[in-house]
């Protein structure tokens, strides 16, 4: 999605045709949990910053397997989050409860792997080329 997402944003999100919703899936233990918790705690300060840290996390995917608390605190500060506020969220229960709740909801919806996409009820898996989305969005627009 990282390669195709900028094209979708430029051609469909900016024009008001598509809204993108990121739904976290925690399928890889602590690395998934803490990376998602980082995004959650940054987003609690600014939903704009969520998308900045979202991109940074995907760009640095290989580092996340061994990332520790210090790594995530530094990342949060780099993208512009307040350190003290972030650490309070990261170390507290509320942020963790939120992402665990979202994770539970996706299981209830039958989503067990990732990435899975749902476009107005049309569910498909795997990363697709931009042309696929062009056809899909054209089809959904006609409905």
């Amino acid at each position: 999605m990282l390669d195709t997402e900028p094209q979708i944003i430029e051609n469909y999100v900016k024009t008001g045709q598509v809204q993108i919703v990121f739904w976290p899936v925690l399928n890889h233990g602590n690395p998934s949990t803490f990376s998602t918790l980082t995004a959650e705690c940054v987003a609690q300060q600014s939903t704009d910053l969520f998308w900045v840290v979202h991109e940074r996390l995907f760009e640095n995917l290989s580092e996340l397997w061994s990332a520790d608390r210090e790594y995530y605190v530094n990342l949060a500060v780099e993208v512009g989050a307040d350190q003290a506020t972030f650490e309070a969220c990261y170390d507290g229960p509320a942020g963790l409860e939120q992402i665990l709740e979202l994770d539970a909801i996706r299981r209830e919806r039958g989503v067990y792997s990732q990435p899975i996409f749902d476009a107005n009820g049309e569910v498909f898996g795997g990363y697709q080329q931009f042309d696929f989305y062009v056809e899909l969005f054209d089809l959904l627009s006609e409905q």
């Binding site: 900016k14 024009t15 919703v21 739904w23 925690l26 987003a43 996340l64 899975i116 996409f117 959904l140």
Partner: protein
């Protein structure tokens, strides 16, 4: 005799050294003076600053439907110049098409707590179920 010859050579070398030293000093002063004239100081410039995209933010509560922020633009008028016979220049205003309206990206949080990008009223909602790993 050798003693006198030695003193003569010593006296001669000293004179040469004094003259050379003087020449060297003059040369150094000349070079420094030239560099002082040609030195150019660059004006101090402020370091580049990072820019971030500015996008509007919705409150974290379930957002009320709202129109995306639009920036309408006025039609741009251009001037065409026509040189007629006899060198007379006639200028006419020609209205061109308006630049496309810029949509500012919205961000926010859904009722369940997931984060979104784009118009909440968009006809298509694309949910991306994904792990950062």
């Amino acid at each position: 005799m050798f003693h006198y010859l030695f003193r003569a050579v010593l006296h001669y070398n000293t004179a040469v050294m004094k003259r050379s030293g003087l020449l060297i000093t003059i040369l150094i002063l000349f070079i420094v003076g030239c560099q002082a004239e040609t030195a150019v100081t660059d004006p101090t410039t402020s370091p580049p600053t990072a820019t971030t995209a500015v996008i509007t933010t919705d409150p974290t509560e379930p957002p009320a439907p709202e129109e995306p922020t639009a920036v309408p633009t006025e039609p741009v008028a251009t001037v065409e110049s026509v040189v007629e016979e006899g060198g007379v220049v006639e200028e006419t205003a020609v209205a061109t098409e308006a630049a496309p309206t810029e949509i500012v990206l919205q961000t926010g949080r859904t009722e369940e707590g997931a984060y979104y990008l784009g118009d909440p009223n968009a006809p298509i909602r694309l949910i991306d179920y994904a792990d950062f790993l």
